[in-house]
Structures are given as structure tokens and as C-alpha cells.
Subunit: 429 residues, 2 copies
């Protein structure tokens, strides 16, 4: 017997036929293997396209919409699929009922359209699950202290699922999605990419934040804080997938559990777990910045104040003494705003020119294994240089090394590194 | 200054453009005439077609659907339009917010899909209205004592509006619909039908229950009990209609207010207010029923137990002594069920044959004036007989006389009676 929270996205919930498929998967999960009945709660998204339809209504009604009323409108999408899944589960003979965000309640901050979950204090939910009732809960929504509907922002259903799993102390939170797990790299680039059996929360955060968009980043952070074991798996596997293999997807777990898995021989120890790429950054070079204390602060403080996230920073020695070129990256979407901010402070900062370049990519190698293994960086630099790929900047964290390269070389770099770290799947004969 | 509850149906709410029209009408109502600002609450239906869409989803999910989950699904339609109307009102510069059924709360019985409103205890609503906030409230829905969403059944938004009007002690409840008021009879049959300036609750109930489907019957009963003044008016009048004429539609009021209107010369005293027709009844004749005590009870008790509403009843003297033919009407939709019930009890009742006829119509003349005026029935019978229309059955109440006739003569009978009671509008030159 295990207690499992399952989450299905909008593609899985698009229409009553697909909801019936989901209901069958849920029933199978409840039945468990070898008669070991599981306790199950399901968190659902709105039907694919429905949230967009509702958001468009709001924009048409009022382009400067009040987010409190926006939340009233868009939260209806998950309300519908929750009721429909409960009805479908009942038609398959299950005990099931829906609990809306305000009914549980899922209490959030009052920041409409991007609220954060404060608390799910729903002892009734665990009791109902223990009695064999399948609880169906709309993702993405909650209620604030004043009793108004809130939503968590797009993609918030993953976070809802993890929060519910934490609240009911679930053994696992299964996130059903349109990929069947987390891969060593993007399989569209490297056909020999391998599905990982497990990654740590930290690795998943690094992989997600640099482009492997499988789970909402916030949900991974919450899972890490609350110690919720998460599994990412495909909702398009056959109905029999669950009993045949209990963990068909990728587990996201703590480093301690990962070490256990390795010690028990269920996982191989790797120095590098995956290779991620990100083409959504842009480079800014400020030339001939005075090389004196405070000048760098003059650049980055206003950007931080405007919530523009600066990632890599390099300071080159300038051609003239007492001057330096400062290079850094910002998200491409923030480039025009960053440029305008810096132009406004040209005199204060004292630079000569702004040069921008969106034609860059960031390639990252990620792995908890590199904490205890030297030489990971060396392998990276050597492998790239052997293929003539120029590294424009480097940044590192405890479990990640990122390099900035020309965007045209993205795919080549990912393939080269995937091979260099021994991540390629064996070739079938 | 007046306090007004306005209600708009699904056709008026179908899409953001129409919602903008509604918002303009609401703003105009709030502005009032000559700067007399009104306090306004608005009760809305779902977009036309949306409830059907949601009901279909439920049927697809589970043909024997759990009405509690059905309510979760279908209540979302009005939630969406409430939020959108609040947003649109804000875009026009108004203060507005939505209050969902569970937020006010509108407490109902727990009979899902056909709940009744028990109580609206929402002091905050009146306060907000007094502060100039336009309250937007979804019709059709509430919450039961256990905190689950309920709905009132189709057409329940009229009842919601009247209940809200009673709760906030509104001066008037304006029901915007696709007709511009209550007419002396169906204008599609009698082109010289006149719009009534006012009718009493009792008259409206009789007119509604016999075919003038302008307002949900239950809402009229509630208005009568709570003393809510209701106005039926068209949402398709120009935006300027409200300030030009404060009562462009038909008022539904108590008999006392009606008498005041007559005494002040604002209304003419009529013996008959309107002529209604109803083609949805069917006639059943049981021949040669033993003419002894209890035999009639044997017929009607099982029908009542099956919630089949028997309307007119006539007992003819049979050809043979000690036997009688019993004729009565039931709603056409219940005819097969009624027939089966009676066949099952053939021996007990002791009839010879069942003859059924759906080809009948019921014509009713309605008016509080007939309480104090003799001769109304005589006028009816004479007028019909002069045109050779055969009366098959008669039933009467204090303010109504109904006759059963051949369905083919419906339009003729309505026209003849409309003229006979002096209801025809003057012909324009």
C-alpha cells in the first residue's frame, strides 16, 4: 500500500475521451500491483486550450485586467476537469469526489495570478483517501485569506500536485506529462540520449532552469524543501504501464536517496548526469568601463532593481590602462529593457559603447557527481576545443559548469559533450 | 437613489462584445436619472450554449452522473461570466467585483442540480453596494451546508436574482430577457396584443404556468413571498432606454400596489389581464369506469405518487348505468408514463378502454379583476361558441378560467377572446 498523488496536464485532460483514459490509469494506480491497494489523489489541469480561451476573454473584457477577477475566470477551467474526472472515475466504479481550491482549502498568498501556496491544512483529504475515495483536485488554484480565488500562474498545477503530496504525506508524486522522463539531454539533438532513472532535486533545478522544461521549476524547489519524491512519466504509455513497471519514468529525489540507489546497484554513479542548452540568453558588452571600485556595482544594481536576471559575467582587460570591457548575459526577453536602463546611466557608469548579441547559447553540464570528482571542467574545455568551439564565457556552481558559445554551434557542442562524458546509449545492433 | 438588482440571461452574456453592452446598461442604471445615483447588483447567466456544453460533458463522462459533481462542472459557466462582467465594468471606470455563490454565501438545500435557496446572509454585499461597488453575482448556483457547490436547475438565475433582491432589500429586480415585457397574449398570434404595464404576482404565475414563458415560475413565487417588485424588460433596447423611461418593461407587483396604480390613474382596471395558451397537455379518457366511491381515487393517487401533474378532470355520465367516463389532462411529456401506470392498474380501477389525445390545447383567461366581476366566464363561453369552437373541459381558479379545445383552434380562440375582453390595441391610422 502506498499513498500516491498523480498529476495530469491539459493534453491528457482535453476532452471526455482522454479523461476516460486518465481515469483508467488512476484506477490502475489505485488497484496497485498484486492486490496492494493504493490511496490516490489526482491533481488536474484544464483542458488544453481552455486556459488560453479564458485568458483571451479577460483580455477582451479589459486589457488592464484586475487579476482578482482574472483568477475567478481562469480558475473555472480546472474546476470543470475536476468534476468531469470525478464523474468518470465514478462511472468506472470508483469512489471519487472533487475538492476545489477553496474547499480543501489550498491557502495561498493574495498575489492574484501568481500566488504562492502557504498551506494546505486538509485533514479531511487524507481521511477520505484512507477510506478509498479518489480525491480529485484542480491544479493551479487556491484561495487567499480573504476568501477570494487565486491562481498560481501558468504551469502552477505541478506545484499544486507537489503541495498536495506534501500535505497528505504521499509516498510519491507522479507528474504525467508528454515526455516519458528526464533525459541525459534533448533527444531531438542527440538520438542516443538516455532516459535517466533518477536525478536529484538540485540536478533537476539546474536542468530545468537551463532549458529542459519538463517540470515547473517552482514545483521542484517545493519538492526539495518538503522532501516529496517526484516521478516524471508519460501519460501516453499504455494503460498497463503502471503495474508492469512501478517506476517507468524518472524519479526526482534527494541526494541521500540517490546515494542509496547507487549503493543498492539500482543506479550507476555518473560524474555528469545531463547536458542542457539554452538559447534564450543575450550577451551585452559594455566597452571601456572605468576600472575603479564601484563601477561594476553601477552596472548591475539597476538591473537587479528592475528584476533583470544577470547570469554570466566576465571582465576583460581593456586596451587602455584603467579601462575594462564588461560582458554579461541577460534573458533575451529583457534585452531591450536592460539596454534602455544602461543607456540612461551612461554617464554614471562611464562606458563607451553597448554591444549586444542574441546569437549565443549556454551549454551546461550538470551532475551531483562532480562535487567529488575533479576533471569534469577539463573534459568539457578539451572536448569543445578539439572541435574548434570557442568558449566566450564560463560560469560554475557546485553541480554545474556552463559555457557561452556561438548559437550556431549549440547542437554540435551538446553532441560532443554527451559523448565526452560517456552518456551515449549503447547502439542497438 | 434606488437599489436595483439587474439580471441578464445567456443571450445577453454570449461573448465579450455582448457583455460590454450589458456593462453599459448597468453603468447607465447606476448613474440614474438626473444624477440620482443608484446602488446596483447584477446577476448573470452563463454564455448562451455554455451550460449545454458543460451538461454534455457530464453526460459523456457518466450518463448516470452524480449531481454533486455535475454542479461543480456546470456552475463554472456563470463563474466565467461573473468575472468577465466585473472586468468589463472596471474597464468602463466602475468599481465592480464578483461574489460567487459560496462567497456571499447563497446557502441552498443540498439537493444537487435542483437546490432551493434557503438564505442569503450577506451583509457585506449591501455594504459594498452602498459604497458604490457594482456587485456581480453568478445566477443558478449556491453552496449547501456542507460547503459543496449546488445549482438551482435550469432557469434558476431568475430565482437567484429575486433572492438577491430580497436579501439586499432592493427597490426593484429587473429581469432583462429577449422579450420587452409581458403581453396581453402571445404577439405572434395576435398582432394587436398589448404590453402590460403591470401584472400581479398571481396573474404572472397563472400566465407563466399556462405558456407565457417569460420568467421562471419559481422566481415569481419567491418574489410574491418576499414582496420583491420585479420588472421584465428587454436587453435589446437601446442603451438610452433606461433613463428615457424608468419602467420600459412590465412590472410584477402585489395586488395592493396594482390597486394603487389603478387609483393613481397609471393603470386602467381590467377584468381580464391576459389570454394564455398551452399546447403541451394531453388528454386521457378512461371509459366505463365503475361509478362507485373510491374509483376516482384509484385513478389519481398513483399518478400523484409518480409526480404526474393532473390538471383538468371531467366525469361524464356513461352510456350504461353505474359506469362513467373519466377525462383528464396530463403534461404531454408524462403521457407514456401515465398510460403505463394506468394499464398496470386496469383491474383495480376497472376501466374498459384508455383513449389518449395529444391534439388538444388549453386556453386560459387570467385577471385579478374577475374576482370582483361576474360574467367573465359567460363572455368566454359565448365568444367561443359564436365561432363554433367546442369546449371539451373547463377548469377555474379565483383569477383564471381555462378551457380545453381542439389544438387546431388555438390561434382562433386566442384571437376571439382577446377581442371579446377588449384587450386589442387601438389600430394605428
Amino acid at each position: 500500500m502506498a499513498r500516491i498523488v498523480m498529476k495530469f496536464g491539459g493534453t491528457s485532460m482535453a476532452g471526455t475521451e482522454r479523461i476516460r483514459r486518465v481515469a483508467k490509469i488512476v484506477r490502475k494506480q489505485q488497484a496497485g500491483r498484486d492486490g496492494a491497494r493504493n490511496e490516490v489523489a489526482v491533481v488536474v489541469s484544464a483542458m488544453a486550450g481552455e486556459t488560453d480561451r479564458l485568458v483571451n476573454f479577460c483580455r477582451e473584457a479589459n486589457p488592464m485586467y484586475d487579476t482578482a477577477e482574472y483568477d475567478v475566470v481562469v480558475a473555472s477551467g480546472e474546476q470543470v476537469t475536476s468534476g468531469l474526472l470525478a464523474l468518470t472515475l465514478q462511472s468506472l466504479g470508483a469512489k471519487a469526489r472533487s475538492w476545489l481550491g477553496w474547499q480543501l482549502p489550498i491557502v495561498t498568498t493574495g498575489k492574484h495570478a501568481s500566488a504562492r501556496i502557504d498551506e494546505i491544512d486538509a485533514p479531511g483529504l487524507g481521511e477520505a483517501m484512507a477510506e478509498g475515495v479518489i480525491a480529485v483536485i484542480p491544479g493551479f488554484q487556491g484561495v487567499d485569506e480573504s476568501g477570494r480565488i487565486t491562481t498560481l500562474g501558468r504551469g502552477g498545477s505541478d506545484t499544486s500536485a507537489v503541495a498536495v503530496a506534501a500535505a497528505v504525506k504521499a509516498d510519491r508524486c507522479d507528474i504525467y506529462t508528454d515526455v516519458d522522463g528526464v533525459y541525459t539531454t534533448d533527444p531531438r539533438i542527440v538520438s542516443r540520449a538516455r532516459k535517466l532513472k533518477a536525478v536529484t532535486y538540485e540536478e533537476m533545478l539546474e536542468l530545468a532552469s537551463v532549458g529542459a522544461k519538463v517540470l515547473q521549476t517552482r514545483s521542484v524547489g517545493l519538492a526539495m524543501r518538503e522532501g516529496v519524491r517526484v516521478q516524471v512519466l508519460s501519460s501516453f504509455v499504455g494503460d498497463d504501464a503502471i503495474p508492469a513497471d512501478e517506476i517507468p519514468g524518472t524519479l526526482i529525489v534527494s541526494e541521500a536517496e540517490m546515494n542509496d540507489l547507487v549503493e543498492r546497484g539500482e543506479m550507476e554513479r555518473q560524474h555528469v548526469t545531463g547536458i542542457a542548452h539554452d538559447k534564450n540568453e543575450a550577451k551585452i558588452i559594455l566597452t571601456r568601463v572605468p576600472d575603479r571600485p564601484g563601477s561594476v556595482a553601477n552596472i548591475f544594481e539597476p538591473l537587479a532593481a528592475a528584476s533583470i536576471n544577470v547570469d554570466m559575467i566576465i571582465q576583460n582587460v581593456g586596451r587602455d590602462k584603467g579601462e575594462t570591457d564588461v560582458t554579461f548575459t541577460v534573458p533575451q526577453a529583457d534585452l531591450p529593457r536592460a539596454q534602455a536602463l544602461l543607456e540612461d546611466r551612461r554617464d554614471e557608469i562611464g562606458f563607451n559603447r553597448i554591444i549586444t548579441d542574441s546569437h549565443i547559447a549556454k551549454i551546461s553540464v550538470v551532475g551531483v557527481g562532480m562535487k567529488s570528482h575533479a576533471g569534469v571542467a577539463g573534459t568539457m574545455f578539451r572536448a569543445l576545443s578539439e572541435r574548434g568551439i570557442n568558449i566566450q564565457a564560463i560560469s560554475t556552481s557546485e553541480i554545474k559548469i556552463s559555457v557561452m558559445i556561438d548559437e550556431d554551434e549549440t547542437e554540435l557542442a551538446v553532441r560532443v559533450l554527451h559523448t565526452a562524458y560517456g552518456l551515449d546509449a549503447p547502439v542497438d545492433d
